[in-house]
């Protein structure tokens, strides 16, 4: 299972802070949490909708039932904008701001992963369909 950081049990963690330096600190904590969770569960997409509607892949992070808190959609939206500004995600599809693709690995790192996989399976210089690459 995923080990949640202790800050996740603090009710104020789920409120956007008015003090800018406090908010900067908490934003960092949220971003780290989101990317670590994405990596752990191999999630690539984060949507504002995930904070609006329960039952999605992100509930474990965006909500804490035990303390009856959840991150509000507006806060999640700001966090996403922050991550985009830091080049940790991109809005995908472009020209909207409700969904992002998370770079918990940078594209360059993904390129490396693909290359290593291709080499290991002796398939360099062959043509593969997208379906052959993705796990079944």
């Amino acid at each position: 299972g995923f080990l949640l950081p202790s800050i996740h049990s603090a009710p104020p963690f789920f409120t956007e802070q008015p003090n800018p330096s406090t908010q900067a600190h908490l934003t960092e904590q949220w971003i780290r949490l989101i990317l670590t969770y994405a990596r752990h569960k191999r999630l690539f997409v984060l949507r504002v909708e995930d904070a609006e509607v329960p039952g999605g892949d992100w509930d474990e992070i965006l909500r804490n039932e035990r303390i009856n808190r959840r991150i509000l959609p507006s806060y999640l939206s700001s966090l996403m904008a922050d991550m985009v500004a830091k080049n940790l995600t991109v809005y995908e599809p472009p020209k909207q701001t409700r969904a992002v693709i998370l770079y918990w690995r940078l594209p360059e790192e993904w390129a490396d992963v693909l290359h290593s996989w291709a080499t290991a399976t002796g398939q360099l210089n062959t043509i593969l369909t997208f379906y052959e690459i993705s796990p079944s």
């Binding site: 603090a10 009710p11 008015p18 003090n19 406090t22 600190h25 908490l26 808190r69």
Partner: protein, 246 residues
């Protein structure tokens, strides 16, 4: 008139002789005292160096040694060199400095979270973690070390907020009396505080409570806001009064 003869001369001679005698007596006493002090100093230093390792590693022994020094009027922190003669004698200089650096380290790294005020227990815990399992650092060691940090001018100070709790401030801005009260009340609840508590338990007006809390939140970054509380709506959390498990 002849000088130096007769009763007047006799008086003068006597007073002169007495004066000489009294200064001789004082000199003897002073010499005696001096040699006693030197003996004592040597004995104390000898004791300190003999037990240097125990003083360094055993907090209970260190505490007893401190008490002994203070009860005989010797301040181990005094002396022209930094850290006092205790540091010089025992080579504790390094040890003191290392502890000081670690304290600063913890305070600086938690400053964004708690606005520059950290609870003593948390500070001791985090410094102990930095030092490893058998560190044996006590609150007393930390308090002593903070005293030597004062010349830094960065505002390092131990504050007593009542209820047996102490906080360490590491920013220049001083806590005003109202903030100290808010911290104390937050301690009672395990970190959270609302205007109502200050009004009911301390008899504050709503305006005073609001001003204190909002200043701590917006101006000083000493607390966090929780706007999802069902009962109160707006709750303030003081990170230095919360228990952190990292």
């Amino acid at each position: 008139m002849h000088r130096g003869v007769g009763l007047a001369a006799f008086d003068r001679q006597v007073s002169q002789r007495f004066a000489e005698l009294s200064s001789e007596v004082s000199k003897t006493q002073v010499d005696h005292l001096q040699s006693q002090l030197t003996q004592f100093q040597t004995a104390l230093f000898h004791f300190a160096t003999t037990h240097r390792d125990s003083i360094r590693s055993d907090p209970a022994f260190r505490h007893a040694f401190q008490k002994m020094c203070l009860s005989i009027g010797v301040d181990p922190l005094a002396g022209p060199r930094k850290g006092g003669w205790l540091a010089e004698m025992l080579g504790m200089g390094d040890w003191q400095y290392e502890l000081g650096v670690q304290i600063v380290d913890v305070c600086v790294s938690t400053r964004e979270r708690n606005g520059g005020v950290i609870e003593m227990g948390e500070l001791v815990r985090m410094v102990s973690n930095l030092r490893g399992v058998k560190s044996g650092i006590t609150e007393e060691d930390v308090i002593r070390s903070i005293k030597t940090l004062q010349p830094l001018g960065a505002g390092y100070e131990v504050l007593d907020v009542g209820g047996g709790k102490k906080m360490v401030r590491s920013v220049v801005k001083e806590l005003d009396a109202d903030q100290a009260v808010v911290l104390a009340e937050a301690q009672v609840e395990g970190g959270w505080i609302v205007e109502a508590i200050l009004e009911n338990r301390r008899g504050w007006t709503r305006d005073r409570a609001r001003a204190a809390l909002e200043n701590m939140l917006l101006r000083d970054g000493l607390c966090w806001l929780d706007s999802q509380d069902e009962r109160y709506g707006k709750v303030y959390w003081v990170p230095s009064a919360m228990r952190w498990d990292e």
